[in-house]
Amino acid sequence: MTMHVPKLGNTPSRWRLEAIPIACVILASALPSLLPVLVQSPTLPPLGLLFLLGWRLLHRELWPLWIGAPLGLADDILSGHPIGTAVFLWTLIMIAVETIDQRLMWRDYWHDWLIAIVACLFFLCGGIILSWLAGSSASLQLILPQTLWSALLYPLIVRVIARVDRWRMMA
């Protein structure tokens, strides 16, 4: 893990260090409901999850293991999933990422990308399957465009997070 050196004489406040990643993920979750885009089929990738994974894979010690639950709740409320969907799926993803971290000696950029794609696929499939419980009958093919967008967008999101992280550390 790279160590960021704050400016001399300035230590970023603890509040700033902890609030920025969380605000970042919640803002990403809220983005689809803020954008004035009216679509007929799911097209935007799960931005909240991509940002969560980006931060988690960048800073292992940033969050406790259960961070998927509160941030997932925020995502459920903002995105329109049945409440509890992302709480359940994000927590499982966080536990899985933790397990992978314990197994892998070295995690390359490609590993991060693969983890993000698999996690997105899991979340999107899980979201559709859990929506069947609520009486929907959406087909699983619907997630293919979203998965593709997620895979293409993740490298960009990692760079955005790196920028924000640098700003976060430079008090």
Partner: protein, 297 residues
């Protein structure tokens, strides 16, 4: 990235308990999440207060952005028209489409008249409109097809009210907040609308496929009566949508069903109207004289 220092705390008992507790919290939270999904499935309106509150927060931003980019939904159409046959094409095509819809509606109304004359003289309140508003955003990252409109309970919108555009049916109101409401679009698989073919009365059921199209399933057994180009309008059966709102045009035929495309595309409609549920418009039938139908005993 190099392997990060392990979370495994070694022999420190306190740290071991902390790690164990974080797993317990995470797994409990996951199970609680699953339970919430089940509860939400059983009682879809249960969590609607939370969602409508957040929609109040995001509404101003979405509404402002929507008014800033209004018309971007038809941008592709305009560009295409220019490339194809010059700038008039888009306007002309839109006019033809409007005329076609008017003809469909007139045809349907004519039919309706014939039928109604045979039936009782039901009077229908003409002003069933509750609010005219704009759609400001939609659930673009999830499987359910939900859009948000810029009007809520303060404007008289209530859960279950039908929403339509001049071009056709949009959906019905799902969750209402003070100034915004979520609507379940026609293309959601949970939105089931009784329809009939506009030119004759072949009845069918329209249900969304979640990908921008609807499935039209004929009610009568036997061979599929539909062919591409057929226009479906609402029947009014079930008492939610008033009759003769254009719903979809059939584009392809499968074995027992047909696939239709909604006539009102949420991305292109400028304004939507929230209406009273249809059954609320029908006055109660006149009370029969009580002395005549009392059996003599």
């Amino acid at each position: 990235m190099a392997r990060a220092p392990s979370r495994r705390p070694g022999v420190n008992r306190r740290a071991q308990y902390g790690l164990f507790a974080s797993y317990v919290i995470a797994i409990t939270a996951a199970i609680a999440g699953l339970l919430m999904v089940v509860i939400a499935a059983a009682d879809p309106a249960g969590f609607s207060v939370i969602r409508s509150t957040t929609s109040e927060v995001t509404r101003p931003v979405a509404a402002a952005l929507r008014s800033a980019v209004s018309g971007i939904g038809s941008l592709d159409e305009n560009v295409f028209a220019y490339v194809k046959a010059g700038s008039q094409n888009a306007a002309l095509r839109r006019q033809v489409e409007a005329n076609r819809l008017k003809i469909i509606e007139a045809e349907a109304i004519k039919q309706e008249n014939v039928r109604l004359k045979k039936l009782l003289k039901l009077t229908e309140a003409s002003d069933s409109e509750v609010a005219t508003t704009r759609m400001i955003s939609s659930s673009s990252s999830i499987g359910r097809r939900i859009a948000r409109i810029n009007a809520g309970s303060l404007q008289g919108v209530m859960t279950g009210m039908p929403v339509r555009a001049p071009e056709g049916l949009i959906g019905r109101v799902l969750i209402v907040g003070p100034n915004s409401a979520d609507i379940l679009l026609l293309t959601d698989s949970q939105n089931i609308v009784p329809v009939r073919r506009a030119k004759d009365n072949v009845p069918a059921i329209s249900s969304g496929l979640d990908d921008g199209t609807v499935e039209i399933r004929p009610l009568s057994a036997g061979r599929n009566p539909f062919k591409p180009g057929d226009i479906m309008v609402t029947t009014g059966t079930g008492g939610l949508y008033s009759p003769n709102i254009p719903v979809a045009v059939i584009v392809s035929i499968k074995a027992g069903t047909a696939t239709g495309v909604p006539l009102a595309s949420p991305a292109r409609v400028e304004a939507v109207m929230v209406e009273q549920p249809y059954e609320a418009n029908i006055p109660a039938p006149p009370q029969p004289a009580t002395d005549t139908d009392q059996p003599a005993s």
